[in-house]
Amino acid sequence: MKAMPWRMAILLVLCCAAVVLGARMVLGGWTVPSFWATPPLEQPIAFNHRKHAAGADGIKCETCHSYSSATTGTFAGLPQVDTCMDCHKMVMRMTPVKLAKKPGLAKLRQFVAAGYIPWEQVYAEPDYVFFPHRRHIAVAKLACAECHGDVRNMTEPVLRPVVNQSMNWCMNCHQQKRASVDCIACHK
């Protein structure tokens, strides 16, 4: 039996293409989960969380991510030079030889000179969401790991969200914990 002629083929392919394209156009504004929508980030320093924070005597999250501490406001924060320097004072005194063995610290030294560290923010709330850290940490007594994943034990720098913080994910927790599910409790 004779195969399908090319005109026919093209016609069909185009039809399908049109359909799928149309669908995707519509999907354009659909909330795409951050972890596959965004390409992996690059962090300025190969920061090893476990090394800093593991174990009972490890540093608390709030110590470095200070904005998110229980006492101050809503805006998430990343550690700045002075935070690191509180401990790493010797960096400035280290000889280049020593530093060569510790590339991370060598970088840190540069950043001290520059005055800031260009961290890439991994978990970024959308502009239209009101998310107070203290409400969740201090009041609801959530562990950081619940929303940020077990960063504490990561040896590699965080390059992409460990948890996909979608709205449904928020809502589920809010429903379980009987927190407010009003739209405008979080949307602003």
Binding site: M4, L12, V13, C15, C16, Y67
Partner: protein
């Protein structure tokens, strides 16, 4: 595998293979197509969603939050405001609830101040003018160069025409800079510091009590306010304070509801909100006032006690210079029928008003202050103050008061300069203008202009006048009309970026001091005028440097505040004041001052809270409020003369009336988009000028709402849109002020028209005709 269409209609076929193959091909192709499309579409979809997103950099960045108490610099009231900051950015302002004058409120102008702070049109560096004012070319120079330049010019002047020929105008909205400049001039050898004349209606008091400035009206304790075209709820002295106090007054916060009567030709916002609107022919308000006075006298309704004790020239007597006292004047020239004929207000109404005025005590009459295009200012204010004298509310609760100087510590005295005494100082803008034009007593050789824009308003200082002054330095935030004519423009910063002080609230009796600390660092390379003056002084060296030896204006300001601590009465802004200021006894005794604070603690607290207040006011202290030779309230003699009335020029039948919308009352307001959006009052007329015409008049001229018309005066014409407004008096047209800038910035310049150019040179009354474009 099953083909979808099989379910659609299960028809047994004739030729199985044929069908099968066909379907398989179909599916293959469909599959291939889908895959291909899916891949291709991913890119497209992302592009699309990208195209629809907001620009990333518009996302407001977060950060640590703080609040700083600062002063508003948009109008003479200068409310204390709290600036909310995120990191280094000021993101919103609100009124300081502890400030007795604004009590947490702010007017649209103040609320829009951030659009001035972050205005793209701000002057960003000192600029030197090259070429003439009409086609200025600006050369950007450094601060150091600027200072050096001024220094050299001043030294040249000192050795040439003499230090006393240097002058300065301004300080209208930056009081600290004003004080600094005055001190600088004194130290340099000149007394020509001219405080900005912000149309303060103190002319009447000047005539009758020979006091100027510091005049206050005690609205909140009054029960009856007779406003003679005073825009009390618009651009009058201190808008926020008035709105609040008149609202309290009308709501009857002392138990009885007050009555506000607005006497005006136009249905203004104030007239609309007033309890009664008396329609009076424009320019005849003074006549109406005397008509009411006549009724008061005729029916013995005035406060005879006060008149007997404290009024001179009420009736003809031995100590009287002029032939007639006020009594004779009003009885002879201003009987209701005659007044009614002139003012268009029926004599019944005049008599009723007089009776209300006499019965609802304390009753207060309020003048409008200087009005461009009206010659009757002196007459009107004198007449109005006469009414106040007759109702005996001079320096009484709910009456006309004189606000007391706060006990600020004076700066160290400076040693007088020889030049200063050489010639009489120039005391007003008109004197400066005269000196510049006539060159006598002497030609001003240099003038500093601080944050004021005389060339835009109806000031006697006109471009050609300014051109005659060899060296003009302008401290300004936006490049306004006056700055455009200056030789050197120095970027001043807004009140949120500098130390600021407020020693009095115009028209408010309560003694208070407002303190503003810089909420954010000076932006765009600007620098506070006060700071520049200090730097200049340092550069000049000698006595000048000695007189202004502070490292920064804040230091000088705090030095003044110490006086408040030492005065040992009054208190730093506090909740207590908000709770208790309504109690009359507070005004009698005030509070024992909190003496526990040390000087520096006191100063820091005052800065943190935003100021200091002393509610005490000693009423009936006539020694200090009646400064006339006779020590009495003197009935002004000009009332005896014929009232200045406007006669329409033939061919120009329409009386022209100006009004100042609140939104554009600040010299810089026109370049703030938020204010342009609410410009126009009482009805919204955003982003443009307009001329209010009465429906009947408009119909007669064949004009409809929104038509473009040309308003022609004998000397000039302007083109603008007609607003057919039922609140406009027949044959009287009203044009808002504040638009029609030729400079200032890209939002303001070239927008609308400045109706003042319809006025003949040097002001004076004008009537117009309207023609359709």
């Amino acid at each position: 595998m099953k083909h979808p269409t099989e379910n659609q209609s299960a028809l047994p076929g004739r030729d199985g293979d044929q069908r099968g193959i066909a379907r398989r091909d179909f599916l293959k192709l469909a599959g291939a197509g889908t895959v291909a499309a899916a891949v291709a579409s991913t890119a497209v979809a992302h592009a699309v969603s990208g195209a629809l997103e907001v620009r990333e950099d518009v996302f407001p960045k977060g950060g640590p939050e703080s609040t700083v108490v600062s002063l508003c610099g948009m109008c003479p009231q200068r409310c204390s405001m709290m600036v909310r900051e995120i990191g280094e950015r000021a993101v919103s302002v609100k009124g300081n609830p502890l400030d007795p004058a604004n009590r947490g409120g702010l007017c649209p102008v103040g609320l829009a101040i951030l659009q001035l702070v972050y205005n793209p049109d701000r002057v960003r560096t000192p600029m030197l003018r090259e070429g003439d004012a009409n086609a200025p070319r600006w050369r950007e120079i450094s601060w150091a160069e600027a200072i050096a330049l001024i220094k050299s010019r001043l030294e040249a002047i000192r050795s040439g025409p003499g230090a006393h020929t240097v002058a300065a105008i301004g300080g209208g909205t930056s009081e600290l800079a004003g004080l600094m400049m005055a001190r600088f001039l004194r130290a340099f050898g000149s007394a020509n510091f001219i405080a900005d004349e912000s149309a303060q209606p103190s002319h009447g008091q000047n005539l009758t009590q020979s006091i100027s400035g510091r005049v206050a009206y005690d609205f909140e304790n009054s029960r009856y306010i007779l406003s003679f075209a005073a825009p009390l709820l618009e651009s009058w002295m201190s808008p926020v304070r008035q709105m609040r106090d008149i609202a309290d007054f009308r709501a009857g916060w002392l138990g009885e509801r007050g009555k506000l009567v607005q006497i005006e030709s136009r249905l203004s916002t104030t007239a609309a909100k007033a309890d009664e609107w008396i329609r009076v022919n424009p320019g005849t308000e003074g006549v109406l006032a005397l008509g009411i006075a006549g009724v008061l006298v005729r029916y013995q309704l005035y406060d005879a006690g006060f008149v007997k004790e404290h009024v001179a020239g009420f009736e003809y007597g031995p100590e009287q210079k002029s032939a007639r006292g006020l009594r004779e004047v009003v009885l002879q020239d201003y009987d209701p029928a005659k007044v009614a004929a002139i003012t268009g207000v029926s004599s019944e109404v005049i008599v009723r008003l007089a009776h209300e005025f006499a019965q609802m005590r304390p009753a207060l009459a309020v003048p409008p202050g200087a009005r461009p295009g009206r010659q009757d200012n002196g007459f009107l204010e004198a007449a109005v103050q006469t009414l106040n004298a007759l109702s005996g509310v001079i320096d009484k609760p709910g009456g006309v008061l004189v606000s007391r100087e706060p006990p600020l510590a004076a700066w160290a005295p400076i040693k007088p300069q020889p030049d200063e005494a050489k010639q009489p100082p120039l005391r007003s803008a008109s004197e400066l203008a005269a000196a510049a034009e006539g060159g006598h007593p002497y030609l001003p050789s240099a003038v500093f202009i601080l944050g004021t824009n005389p060339l835009f308003g109806s000031s006697p200082i006109r471009p050609e006048v300014l051109e005659r002054i060899p060296f003009k330095v302008s401290f300004t935030t936006l490049l306004d009309e006056t700055a455009a004519h200056a030789d050197l423009v120095l970027p001043d910063c807004t009140s949120l970026e500098r130390w600021e002080i407020r020693t009095a609230v115009p028209g408010y009796a309560l003694t208070s001091v407002g303190v503003g600390s810089p909420a954010i660092a000076p932006r765009y390379g600007s620098s506070p005028a006060a700071q520049v003056i200090l730097d200049l002084a340092k550069a000049m060296g000698g006595d000048v440097a000695g007189a202004l030896a502070w490292s920064d204006p804040g230091q000088a300001l705090k030095e003044m505040l110490v006086g408040l601590h030492d005065a040992a009465h009054g208190e730093i802004f506090s909740e207590r004041f908000r709770r208790e200021y309504t109690r009359p006894e507070m005004r009698a005794w005030g509070w024992p001052a909190d003496t526990s604070l040390k000087r520096d603690e006191f100063v820091e607290l005052a800065v943190a809270r935003g100021g200091w207040v002393d509610p005490r006011y000693s009423f009936g202290d006539y020694a200090s409020v009646l400064k006339t030779k006779s020590g009495k309230f003197e009935m002004p003699e000009l009332l005896g003369s014929a009232p200045p009335l406007i006669a329409a020029r033939p061919g120009y039948p329409l009386d022209l009336n100006f009004f100042q919308p609140l939104a554009l009352m600040s010299t810089m307001g026109a370049n703030l988009p938020y204010l342009q959006e609410v410009a126009g009052a009482p009805e919204d007329w955003p982003w443009d000028s307009y001329i209010e015409i009465n429906p009947a008049t408009a119909a007669a001229l064949g004009i409809e709402d929104g038509d473009w018309v040309i308003a022609q005066s004998p000397t000039a014409q302007v083109e603008l849109q007609a607003h057919v407004y039922a609140g406009a008096m027949p044959n009287v047209v009203n044009i808002p002020l504040g638009q029609g800038h030729t400079a200032l910035g890209h939002w303001a310049s070239g927008r609308g028209v400045n109706p003042l150019k319809l006025l003949p040179v040097g002001g004076g009354p004008v009537t117009v005709r309207i023609v359709k474009r």
